[in-house]
Symmetry: C2
């Protein structure tokens, strides 16, 4: 059996194995899984992985870059559903209807692997731990969405932005990057849309947090100066349980 760390090394190429959750698969099983993955595709900023309404054939594994998913609204605007970093899987909400419920757009030059869902399903029947893994993956997405429901339902603008920053920081750290300083690949507009706030409110909150010395903001570059205080701001909207990623 391998744990997630050794898997990372073993399959640096198309590593489905780097997927969000610790997974225990035999080496042979891993190669079967990776064999199903298509070659990574490079995408430029602004390109779409798929659009809402498209027929569903595959899930997509982010290898590098950032992807935002969003649903177009009737009035022409959009609602950002989430931002996805390397190792994360996109398109899970399309399985039921067999067409995509949201669009997925690349925010910066990215590399994405296609994972044909039919093949995945077949494989999941043969590899019990893979089936289990995917049940867990879907469940994890549900838990994440529920956390967002709490945030959008209850939190103030400050709480939302603080929670967002802490979440992003954690995800960077989990990928081996600094959780104290990073660049946000998404625009203020996207952040606001995601958090249910106006762009201007995001700007104001960034300024306020900076004035208070909690963070330093310069354009897309964020430095977290006082994580403790930032966490305290997010606190009220935090879910009791621990979080993942």
């Amino acid at each position: 059996m391998l744990d997630i760390t050794s898997i990372k090394i073993a399959c640096s190429e198309c590593s489905l194995s780097r997927l969000c959750l610790p997974m225990s698969l035999e080496e042979q099983e891993i190669s079967r899984l990776d064999a199903v993955l298509k070659r990574p595709r490079p995408l430029k900023r602004g390109e779409d992985l798929f659009q809402a309404g498209d027929a569903f054939h595959s899930l997509y594994v982010i290898r590098a870059g950032t992807v935002k998913t969003f649903t177009p609204c009737e009035d022409g605007s959009e609602q950002v559903i989430g931002f996805h970093l390397p190792g994360e899987l996109v398109g899970l909400d399309a399985i039921e209807q067999e067409r995509h419920m949201c669009s997925a757009r690349v925010l910066e030059t990215s590399s994405v692997c296609e994972l044909p869902f039919d093949r995945l399903q077949e494989l999941a029947l043969e590899i019990p731990s893979l089936q289990k893994h995917f049940f867990r993956l879907l469940s994890q997405e549900l838990a994440k969405d529920e956390t967002m429901l709490l945030l959008l339902g209850k939190a103030t603008a400050e709480e939302r932005l603080a929670t967002f920053l802490i979440n992003v920081a954690k995800r960077f750290r989990a990928r081996g990057y600094s959780d104290k300083e990073f660049n946000l690949s998404m625009s203020r507009h996207d952040i606001g849309n995601y958090l249910g706030l106006a762009v201007e409110t995001i700007s104001r909150m960034f300024s306020r947090l900076q004035d208070e010395g909690v963070i330093s903001v310069h354009r897309k570059n964020i430095v977290i100066n006082d994580l403790e205080r930032l966490a305290a701001m997010a606190h009220r909207s935090a879910r009791c349980g621990s979080d993942d990623e």
Copy 2:
């Protein structure tokens, strides 16, 4: 092969088969599935199916009644995640962490079947269409949550309540009840919490909708007088795709 309608008749007792999605299983497979389901348990208003933090062993199928799921917040308040009607499955968000992320409380006298998840996983390996069914079920939950994110992120109080009422009406109709008149089993407080609004706002919106003649409200009893107008109110917040349930 059986479709959902005939399954309903075949398995009136413990009908896992009445689960939210059309499912095509051989009769023999259905009995294997039902064999895994435990006897229905009657629950009284206010009882908990499980609480946030509890170890996860089973999913729960609502046979009769209504269940609300909610996550306790740090400040003692709660965020209502959803209301669940007969045929729906509760506890899917617990698979990953192997403990429940939310609490599930019965809003009226209800009947609930326990479905041991280990057994379900085993069975899903042997019955491909069952595995597929559960992937779809989880995906459907994701899509639902995303619709809620849109609602909480963008919609006004009026849009939220209108959308909620239409959703409830649809679910009643899907179960063979009237979609024009029904009783809401949840309190105004719970509705407000679910929609990210204050109780008072819910009350005011009910009154306003009634004043405009769109609905008639008497306590928990709701009559939809003008579905078209109600739909127009919900319109702006509607997701482009069609919906389920």
